[in-house]
């Protein structure tokens, strides 16, 4: 789960990191009022889960409250990479001397939290790491001991020469690690970390991703989920315990297992079609889940055909077939449905489906080819 900038800043502030004040506006008038309260000269920042906000015109400097109102009017409702902006953050414009990057994430290779810092802040850190690796310093944290004071100093020392800036930044880095751990984060980043002409160090942008597996024990973080920033179908899927990602194609896919679901989507493309979604229905033969899955798939107006690809390993195919038949009796589907079931008791399952009038297959290739053909036929 990604946090918005303003939410990540709340987490950072709570850990003691110096973050300039800022509040959320959802209307141009609200933005104007906040700009007045914050002294007039502010930055208006779109709050969406997408990179490249600045390039898309979602971050604007306002010299006075009237300008803040005008910028907010332009940004609210704007689409950035397919996501509509519902909120803007109003925050004072800072005088910037230097910009640095400070981030921590879970690194797969070392299996530990890893810090990356660079004095080349404000730009994409992956580009910096790739093109000028000498400009970054990396540190692997032993998660059992946490970030040690001398390690935080070693990172800060790479960024500045001035002892006061190093001291302030050492503290900020330690606080960032605390916030990372206490938020159940998989990534936390300050970009840029600025110094001001008066010698202060501040975090003026913030990014944080939360490990979904942490949410059960961090209700205060879970409450930060902004369902308005995700497609409604994904909210429904999450609530039904299904894993769903909407795509742009027209072949709806309902599969058990994430790997097989991806392979099924790829096979749709192999046969010249385009998958409408990723959907992992899990190992259950529960008709409720099948109904939820079909409701989510058919809510997408692009869907022209629907395919099931179920590998019954431990789950018996006849159970799954009965689940599908029962689900179909509870919901009306306009699109053609094709079903593939393979594994334990597949012969019984095929008979159940055929008796109920569903085209049933045992080959993954055959069912995908048919679903693609049906989607194309519907277009013609």
């Amino acid at each position: 789960m990604d946090l918005h900038e303003y939410q990540a800043k709340e987490r950072f502030r709570a850990a003691g990191i110096p973050v300039p004040p800022g509040e959320i506006a959802t209307t141009p008038a609200g933005a104007e009022k906040l700009a007045e309260d914050l002294g007039g000269k502010v930055v208006v920042k779109a709050q969406v889960h997408s990179g490249g906000r600045g390039k898309a015109g979602g971050v604007k400097l306002a010299a006075n409250p009237a300008e803040a109102k005008a910028h907010a009017a332009a940004i609210l409702g704007m689409e950035i990479k397919g996501l509509t902006v519902h909120k803007v953050l109003i925050t004072p414009a800072e005088d910037i001397d230097t910009e640095a990057y400070v981030g921590v994430l879970i690194d797969r290779a070392t299996q530990a939290p890893t810090f990356i810092v660079s004095a080349a802040g404000g730009i994409d850190i992956e580009t910096v790491a790739h093109e000028t690796p000498e400009k970054i310093r990396k540190l692997t944290v032993d998660p059992r001991y946490g970030l040690l004071p001398h390690q935080a100093y070693w990172l800060a020392d790479f960024l500045y020469d001035d002892p006061s800036l190093i001291k302030q930044t050492t503290k900020i880095i330690a606080q960032l690690y605390d916030s990372f751990v206490n938020s159940g984060s998989s990534m936390a980043e300050i970009n840029p970390l600025i110094t001001t002409p008066s010698g202060e160090v501040k975090a003026i942008d913030a990014k944080m991703s939360i490990d979904d597996n942490e949410l059960y024990r961090r209700p205060e973080v879970a409450a930060m989920r902004d369902s308005s920033s995700e497609p409604p179908a994904e909210t429904l899927a999450r609530e039904a315990g299904l894993s769903y990602v909407k795509l742009d194609g027209d072949v709806g896919c309902c599969v058990n297992g994430a790997g097989l679901a991806m392979a099924t989507m790829d096979l749709v493309k192999y046969y010249g079609g385009a998958p409408a979604n990723f959907l992992d229905i899990g190992g259950s033969s529960n008709p409720d889940k099948v109904v939820a899955a079909l409701e989510i798939i058919t809510a997408d107006p692009n869907v022209k055909s629907i395919l099931f690809n179920i590998f019954g390993g431990i789950t018996r195919c006849d159970d799954v077939a009965n689940g599908i038949v029962e689900a179909m009796s509870r919901i009306d589907i306009e699109q053609p449905i094709v079903i593939r079931l393979t594994g334990t008791n597949e012969e019984i399952a095929l008979k159940i489906l055929k008796d109920a009038g569903f085209p049933a297959y045992t080959s993954m290739d055959a069912v995908v080819e048919e679903a693609v053909k049906l989607a194309k036929g519907a277009e013609a």
Partner: protein
Amino acid sequence: MAIFTNAETKLVVQGITGRDGSFHTTQMMEYGTAVVAGVTPGKGGQSFKGPGGKSVPIFNSMDQAVAATGANASVIFVPPPFAAGAIMEAADSGVALVIAITEGVPVLDMARAHAFARDRGARVLGPNCPGLITVGGAKIGILPGSIVTPGPVGVVSRSGTLTYEAVYQLTSVGLGQTTCVGIGGDPLIGTNFIDCLEAFEADPETSAVVMIGEIGGTDEQDAAAFVKEHMSKPVVGFIAGQTAPPGRRMGHAGAIVSGAGGTAAEKMAVLEENGIPVAKRPADIVGLVREALA
């Protein structure tokens, strides 16, 4: 022979009294796995009724189970909040192999648990994995015993049902397996592709390996380099997620294309560059394995 288990493998089931734990304990025993103990805190002294009237003693802790039965492997079905603790308890008890089936373990918990297990010399498989099945030997985890058949092919995969699909297709044309291992879909896993490839290379029964990867991370790329440098046996690859959009988690916590790295296209190219033929679709795996064995 096979990898990671042998005729001496004696298994403890952590979380044996839970719904999944009890169901799969029965399945494992029916396959022939030597399940010697179960652990559920507070239920020590009771016993689990297995198939065929067999009874498995339940203990309160791993050290008690190991002391009483000489168990040397464990499989974990406990819920996510307790899974990392169960892994560390298993590692502390001295078992050599810890297979964590549980899905949804916080990644920071796993960072600590993996470091702890490494220090104690325990091999962790998973978490969020289907486990392994040594054909005709031990089945540890949730892989269905019905789809495997004995033969010369080793299978290693990050996925569950996609592995079953590949194994099923191999079996249906008579290409049997030595061991099928699911290494898990999480970002931090205890046993990676290279560990499994190394073991298959050393296993005299295995003649070829099928490696099934997916988007996210660089495990497949690292494995490809390992194959080129260190393996004499042929390896056939498959990568899922060519149509996955960047930045979106595709079910598995680890299946996400982030930034520039981890795409299916990149992985497929690196595999091919290192001499590993890549199946364009699951149905092509069988043909590539046949060619590799020819």
